[in-house]
């Protein structure tokens, strides 16, 4: 058909997904018919036009202060998270599956947390090794025997998903402490609505604006019983935290005060905030401060960010915290490997979204496989965060591999290994045109009485060519994520 013949100035004319699964074009086995109209509209845009609009968007993000802080030697600098204007699109069918998988996962993680702070059945039944749980640095003895409303510990969960070469979504990591990034999800959408209304028109994109209201509802539901209109606050480490913009964003969306530790005080095991008219009681706290810094009396005594005595008020049931204290043991890298078994143990189901294939080196079989396939695998220490101490087998030198082997043999329990996942790509605007860049996806689940999943989530994109690293600290950016409404009859 000559009518669909690409024109020379067609934006996607020379696009080559380079053998990876593509979020707009699909994979070798399956095309992506749901994105056909979007591809067509994109193709019709001139490069100069889309480029100009992209620059407008970047300027607006900067002027609105939708930024995160980067610390240089001299001072703190506001940076915007690079925003790519070409959206990532998820079909209704794909989303139905993901949503169910995320609900299943958060349900199992909450059952696990309830269990390990009470009966410890899962340990007694030998499903997960005791030292991984009770010996975990993030296990909080202060939580033992404490009942939390609805048995919900992880009120806000961010699940990092990647999509492999066959187009299968897999869980790479759980974030069950203080996951961040949701503000960009909503702000990216607002930006697209301002800059590309023509691209979005009539597509049936599921709205995401109600995140703040869902969050407020969950945080209100867990307030101490008998309080009809709880006073909710958002507790932030302060304006020098790199995620401060998100704290502002959420406080505004929830319509609650954004407080810092110094604004709160505990008297007689009740939490109060300092107002112009004296102390006002606080019932529920969405806290963006990690366990360690929450209460210098209970945890890190050097913390100046926290509120002395808040843990005791929490234990007495006088104040609610979201997330609960002690959730870090559930999103630990070592515990992660056991989540599929956890799901089976508590729910009697297979995990709807599989983990990335993981070899547990504390288990003989896993160690043997890892040692045999070292050059193909990614070896990760379990105790470290933020990509430290990782060996990327396919990219490592002989010496590095030998070093890794020695470490593995010396302390196998400290390691897991995974195959290198060929992350899916999405068309992305670059200086020289539209090119494939690797992406991941972090959906957010909010749980009070029940679980609600924000349609879509944060799509992070590696803005540099040929890299899988999507982290904002390493030049990663983000995209708007469109979950399409189900239009089938």
């Amino acid at each position: 058909m000559t009518a669909t013949e690409p024109r020379p100035n067609d934006l996607l004319h020379r696009y080559d997904q380079a053998g990876f699964y593509d979020e707009l074009f699909g994979g070798r086995e399956q095309s992506a018919p749901h994105a056909a109209l979007i591809r067509e509209r994109l193709a019709a845009l001139a490069f100069d036009d889309i480029h100009r609009r992209s620059e407008d968007a970047a300027r607006e993000l900067y002027n609105l202060g939708i930024t995160f802080l980067v610390y240089s030697e001299q001072e703190a600098i506001d940076r915007i998270l690079p925003f790519d204007v070409i959206p990532r699109v998820i079909s209704a069918r794909e989303w139905t599956h993901l949503e169910a998988g995320i609900v299943q996962r958060v349900t199992a993680l909450n059952l696990f947390l309830r269990d390990i702070y009470h009966e410890r059945k899962i340990i007694r039944d030998g499903v997960i090794p005791e030292d991984l749980v009770i010996g975990n640095a993030n296990y909080r003895p202060q939580m033992i025997g404490l009942k939390v409303p609805f048995d919900t510990y992880i009120h806000i969960l961010g699940v990092d998903l990647v999509r492999d070469g066959a187009g299968v979504f897999r869980v790479l990591e759980d974030n069950g402490r203080v996951p961040s990034g949701v503000s960009y999800v909503v702000e990216n959408r607002h930006m697209m609505q301002r800059v590309f209304p023509d691209l979005m028109q009539g597509l049936g994109i599921r709205p995401i604006d109600n995140y703040g209201q869902k969050l407020l509802q969950a945080v209100s539901e867990i307030a101490p019983s008998g309080i009809s209109e709880p006073r909710v606050v958002l507790l932030s480490p302060g304006s020098y935290n790199s995620a401060y913009f998100e704290h502002i964003f959420l406080a505004r969306e929830m319509g609650v005060p954004l407080v810092e530790g110094r604004d709160l005080v505990v008297q007689d095991d009740r939490v109060y905030m300092k107002t112009t008219n004296g102390l006002a009681v606080v019932d529920s706290i969405y806290r963006r401060i990690g366990d360690d810094f929450l209460d210098p009396r209970a945890f890190n005594e050097d913390s100046l960010l926290g509120v002395p005595g808040i843990m005791e008020a929490y234990r007495k049931g006088n104040v609610a915290l979201a997330n609960a204290v002690g959730t870090g043991v559930a999103d630990d890298k070592a515990v992660y490997c056991y989540v599929p078994r956890m799901i089976k143990y508590y729910l009697g189901e297979e995990a709807l979204i599989p983990n990335v294939e993981t070899y547990i080196c504390r288990e003989a079989e896993g160690l043997a496989y890892t040692l045999d396939h070292l050059a193909e695998l990614v070896v990760k220490p379990v105790g470290e965060a933020g990509g430290y101490g990782i060996t990327l087998g396919p990219l490592a030198s002989k010496d590095e591999l030998a070093d890794c082997r020695a470490k593995l043999l010396a302390d196998p329990s400290n390691y897991i290994s995974q195959p290198m996942v060929p992350l899916s790509v999405c068309p992305t605007l670059t200086e020289s045109g539209v090119e494939p860049r690797h992406v991941d996806l972090r959906p957010f689940a909010v749980t009070g009485r029940q679980t609600w999943v924000l349609p879509g989530g944060l799509t992070r994109v590696a803005m540099r060519k040929n890299t899988f690293i999507v982290n904002s600290s390493q030049g990663g950016g983000s995209k708007d994520t469109w979950v399409l409404e189900d239009t089938s009859p």
Binding site: L64, K274, T276
Partner: protein
């Protein structure tokens, strides 16, 4: 009753003050032609430094009071708490704290102004560009006022905003009058009345008061009348009397509408100011010493701020003391 977080109240107060301060600094520098003249009518940039009482801090950082150094000190010097860059940055830091509270439009405008001011270079303060720059800053501050008036939710926070604005404005008006009056009248009576006329005109223009003054005093340009107008006129938006009355009204409303327990001491201080303003004629004030009178007003305004801090913002420290004592 949903009371305002003490720290927010404080930040709102100071955001308003710093924006008002930036505007007034721009106003002062814009009329540099007048205020940089010494007793003998020569251009002398040191006069501005001297009259601002910034001698010590200035000469710690600069050798000579050249035009460039003085302008650099008052516009670009981020270390100088009386510079435009400092005021805008402080306003923006407070606004940053207040982002959950203020309108997005307020934040975006302050942020844009901040980015602009941060990017200023020495060439921007060159004399031919100075008026343009001062106008831009003045207009940005006025835009801020307009956006605030049109978008800031009228709860308790609004009243703290107005407190900050009017306390700063009253203070700046006393300083501007001080600088202007003594630059023009000098220590010796001037022998060039026509030159004086230009200076008085400039002083009134710097407070946007020339036309209003003319409506009250169609003829002449008597120093006494001008000083009296700037201090006492009940309708002139930058007069000390009008600002003091606004402050008083806001404090009253905070108590009646929001049932705030604190604030009585601040009201007493402002009553003293109002009493002083109504009890002496301008002739008498000048006779007794205008400079001393203006100093006294500045100190009383600073007392009002201390009382506000103590009653409304200082909860943090007093609570902690209580805690330790208990």
């Amino acid at each position: 009753m949903n009371n305002l977080l003490a720290r927010y109240a404080e930040s709102i107060f100071w955001m308003a003050r710093y924006m008002e301060r930036a505007e007034n600094l721009a106003r002062i520098l814009d009329v540099h032609e007048t205020f940089s003249r010494d007793d003998h009518g020569f251009k002398n940039w040191h006069t501005i430094v001297k009259l601002n009482g910034d001698d010590q801090r200035f000469f710690e950082r600069y050798d000579i009071a050249s035009a460039e150094n003085v302008l650099r000190f008052y516009v670009l010097d981020a270390q100088n708490p009386t510079s435009i860059v400092f005021a805008v940055r402080a306003a923006r830091e407070n606004a940053r704290t207040l982002r959950p509270w203020i309108s997005t439009e307020m934040w975006a405008q302050i942020n844009v102004l901040y980015n602009k001011v941060q990017a200023l270079e020495v060439k921007d303060i060159a004399l031919p560009n100075l008026t343009h720059l001062c106008n831009e800053i003045k207009e940005a501050c006025q835009t801020h006022s307009g956006i605030t008036e049109g978008t800031f939710y009228r709860d308790e926070g609004w009243y703290f905003y107005r407190l900050g604005k009017f306390i700063e404005r009253a203070d700046q008006t006393t300083r501007l009058l001080d600088i202007g009056y003594f630059t023009i009248t000098g220590s010796t009576p001037t022998t060039r009345p026509s030159q004086d006329f230009i200076h008085w005109h400039a002083l009134l223009r710097s407070v946007a008061g020339y036309h209003a003054f003319r409506r009250v005093y169609p003829r002449g340009m008597a120093p006494t009348a001008i000083a009296g107008f700037i201090l006492y006129n009940e309708s002139f938006p930058r007069s000390v009397a009008l600002c003091a009355r606004e402050i008083n009204g806001v404090l009253t409303r905070l108590k009646s509408r929001y049932k705030l327990r604190g604030g009585s001491a601040a009201m007493e201080r402002i009553d003293e100011i109002l009493a002083a303003l109504s009890s002496r004629t301008i002739e008498r004030v000048i006779e007794d010493g205008l400079h001393e009178y203006l100093d006294w007003l500045q100190l009383r305004l600073s007392d009002v701020t201390s009382e506000l801090s103590h009653s409304f913002f200082g909860l943090a420290s007093s609570e902690e003391t209580q805690q330790q004592g208990a």
